[in-house]
Symmetry: C2
Subunit: 154 residues, 2 copies
């Protein structure tokens, strides 16, 4: 369904393009490690407290799900040389909890390709990043922006 | 300027309330550790490649800045017992790069307190999370949402 395409520049993208990453299984150990450093809420680091909490058990920090999902797409190699950083993100939603043992796959759907008017060597790629679990449920979506270089020889 | 207030419930917040966290210094080691796991772009893990890159040196992953900023506010203890998770985030912007040696302080400014109509025991807290560096520059802002319990005895 998706064709492997790597090391792309701004000019190589068009709205509707879809990229699919490989999967990643969240372990209890990794969930707790991440959260102890970055999001030390009891529902992310304390199995016993989490049992009595709103999700009936330990769940991953939403910041971890976000970062892992981004990594799964990044490591497809869709862009690397062209990357100039990102200005931000909109509409991040955590639709379902991610629990130990859950396996997420990542998708990126290109929404907009916007060449810069002031800087002709670059432009903005706007895409929806999403993560789907082993039951086919979408657990997270977000709209990301990345500045990418344009090809010198289109 | 800000009064320490901890373990708050939805009813304890009002728009305009400001919370301030303590500081955190980003080290080269921590920047590279985080990025190798979660955002392995050369500008975050390879000092030499980063020198030739768009920021002229290594910078922290924006996902790390986000998670650290959230943690700095979370560990003020502003809410803990009341937390029921968060549905998402809007308007995340990375305004300035975060470099090794930079110290960030975190702020949360309450924007809206929205009791649930369907579930009278809870509601939504909407706040702007921001991070300011040692030069007083705002490096990141985002609008976060958290579900919080209401007090049983207001």
């Amino acid at each position: 369904m998706t064709t492997p395409r790597t090391d792309l520049y701004l000019d190589d993208f068009k709205p509707g393009d879809r990229f699919e990453g490989r999967g990643y299984t969240f372990t209890e150990s990794e969930i707790i490690d991440f959260a102890l450093r970055y999001d030390p809420q009891p529902i992310h680091i304390d199995v016993e407290a989490a049992k009595a909490g709103p999700f009936g058990g330990l769940i991953a920090s939403g910041f971890q799900s976000l970062a892992i999902t981004f990594r799964l797409i990044y490591q497809t190699g869709w862009f690397s040389s062209a990357s100039l950083g990102g200005p931000g993100m909109d509409n991040l939603r955590w639709h379902k909890p991610v629990r130990p043992g859950d396996t997420l796959r990542a998708f990126a759907d290109v929404k907009e390709v916007r060449p810069s008017k002031s800087k002709p060597d670059r432009g903005l790629l706007i895409y929806e990043l999403s993560a789907v679990n082993q039951s086919g449920e979408t657990v997270m979506t977000a709209t990301l922006m990345s500045f990418l270089k344009r090809r010198r020889d289109p």
